[in-house]
């Protein structure tokens, strides 16, 4: 049976960084959206406390998600491979 052509390591690395970038973009986008809502309520003097209160819970959660994803990427893809070498 014909073997499939080997996958370029460089291409894999690039796509992995893009994969991480996409995850950051997604979570970063949500954080920017929430901050935008706070600013809108501030500008319109529209019960800013509600927006700030909810954001105080929501934003750190999204930051922790980003942290976990980056930790795994760093530990498995970067650091883990270095240690193996």
């Amino acid at each position: 049976m014909a073997q499939p052509p080997p996958v370029s390591d460089r291409l894999v690395r690039t796509l992995q960084w893009l994969w991480l970038g996409w995850a950051f973009l997604l979570v970063g986008g949500v954080i920017i959206w929430i901050v935008g809502l706070i600013l809108a309520s501030w500008r319109l003097d529209d019960v800013v406390q509600a927006s700030v209160g909810i954001s105080l819970v929501a934003i750190p959660i999204f930051i922790v998600f980003m942290g976990v994803v980056f930790y795994v990427f760093w530990g498995v893809a970067l650091h883990g491979r270095k240690r193996e070498n």
């Binding site: 935008g36 954001s55 959660i61 498995v76 240690r83 193996e84």
Partner: protein, 444 residues
């Protein structure tokens, strides 16, 4: 040292390596359902919501019912998986992946119902641009986003070692698997990092999952509408979500056990444990339902009683009593004795519960709007083919996504089964020794 390979692992890789005619038949059937849904949506998009049964005062019907139902089903996965993982329930190993996939797939479908309900999906941009955090609808948007992000992460992390197995063993999709495997080679350090990340996510995901369905209930309970304004709606919805979620998980397990021949991994003992969990949830659901309706009845507030009697003896009685039958009577009779015909009994109970929980959502959404507190005329809601089509299409889309997932990734976690076989026996023995009185626990 490379872990010992189990010959039965080929069963788990077979659906990815080979595709039988059953798969194409299933895809064809599901595509028909999706086409029906797409046609219904196209008509609704061009003609407006007037082609549906939605009108004043009943502005929420099938779509919001489906939204609450699907978000409830999503509790099957991540929440149940996280609880079983944290409580070190060893029997979880062949189940968790299936459960986590349900969450990720169904949450998209659930959130999509709101877009369909809007009639004009472009108005979603108003929520994004001018949303106000005083509105429970925006709490929903935020908590569902958090839950989706958490669920996707929680699904992906435990898949990394399995993706590496696919990268090394399969001759196809090399690039995809190489990228997603993140260079996994199974070193002790990589395993340590992964285990720590999974543990963090498992802890995080439980409060987020509970917050999601609490917030979904707030959409109703924060209003002053009869039968909606209730302090127990949060936990009532969470219990209902876990209840329907487990039922959904069981049905999925049984379908894929049959289709992919997974009897070796999904044994009657798994169904017995899940069946027992289902029985407990059925009793809890009945307790909440009883408390909710008794409180309303005892208060005897006139507007409340109109809705109350509409469910018990009025136009909604068939749905209400069918709900009680499906969510309480049938599960109780099926699940109290599970020694024999375990899988069959659990399947019947689960199918009934899925139907019953959809009816419960319907019974919550529609009757209250049919008897408005404000001086509107009373309304009757009758869904048209458009809503039926959307519902069928949504179910088809969920099933198709799930089916396609099983063609790309193993539906049972290979590395977790290996880990269980290699380490857990000893670990469980040590753990039991640590529970026992005496000095044995000190050494652990």
């Amino acid at each position: 040292m490379a872990p010992e390979r189990d010959d039965h692992e080929d069963i788990l890789l077979a659906p990815i390596e080979r595709t039988g005619p059953g798969f194409y038949w299933a895809v064809a059937f599901l595509s028909l359902l999706i086409l029906w849904g797409a046609a219904a949506y196209a008509v609704q998009f061009t003609e407006g919501l007037g082609v549906t049964g939605l009108h004043q005062p009943v502005a929420w019907g099938f779509y919001v019912t489906n939204f609450v139902f699907f978000i409830g089903i999503s509790h099957a996965g991540t929440l149940i998986s996280a609880i079983l993982r944290l409580s070190k329930a060893e029997w979880r190993r062949p189940i968790t992946r299936m459960a986590e996939v349900i969450t990720c797939m169904v949450i998209f479908i659930g959130a999509g119902q709101i877009l369909v309900d809007l009639g004009r999906p472009d108005r979603m941009m108003n929520v994004l641009r001018h949303g106000r955090y005083q509105s429970p609808l925006l709490w929903d948007a935020t908590s569902i986003s958090a839950y989706l992000t958490a669920s996707l992460t929680y699904l992906y992390l435990p898949m990394i070692p399995d993706i590496a197995i696919l990268r090394d063993r399969l001759g196809k999709r090399k690039l995809l698997y190489s990228v997603l495997a993140l260079g996994w080679t199974g070193t002790a350090y990589q395993q340590k990092v992964l285990n720590r990340a999974i543990a963090i996510m498992a802890v995080l995901v439980i409060p987020i999952a509970i917050s999601v369905h609490s917030v979904v209930s707030f959409v109703f309970s924060m209003t002053l509408q009869p039968s909606w304004h209730s302090t127990i709606f949060g936990p009532y919805f969470v219990v209902g979500a876990i209840f329907s979620g487990i039922a959904g998980l069981i049905v999925t397990m049984i379908i894929f056990r049959k289709a992919y021949g997974l009897d070796y991994y999904l044994k009657p003992i798994h169904f017995r444990y899940l069946g027992q969990l289902l029985l407990i949830m059925s009793l809890l659901w009945f307790y909440f339902t009883f408390a909710e309706y008794l409180t309303g009845y005892y208060g005897a507030e006139p507007e409340e009683m109109k809705v109350f009697w509409s469910k018990f003896t009025g136009p909604f009685w068939p749905f209400f009593w069918a709900m009680v039958l499906c969510n309480f009577v049938v599960p109780l009779s099926c699940l109290t004795r599970l020694q024999r015909h375990t899988v069959g009994k659990v399947l019947i109970a689960s199918i009934c519960i899925i139907i019953g929980m959809w009816l419960e959502r319907f019974i919550i959404v529609v009757p209250t709007l049919s008897f408005p507190r404000l001086p509107f005329p009373q309304g009757v809601y009758a869904p048209t083919w458009v809503e039926w089509g959307e519902t069928a299409g949504s179910l088809g889309l969920f099933a198709l996504f799930y089916l396609l997932f099983t063609k790309f990734f193993p539906i049972v976690s290979i590395w977790e089964i290996r880990e269980g076989r290699e380490h857990s026996l000893k670990e469980v023995e040590q753990r039991i020794a640590s529970y026992l009185p005496g000095d044995a626990g000190e050494k652990v």
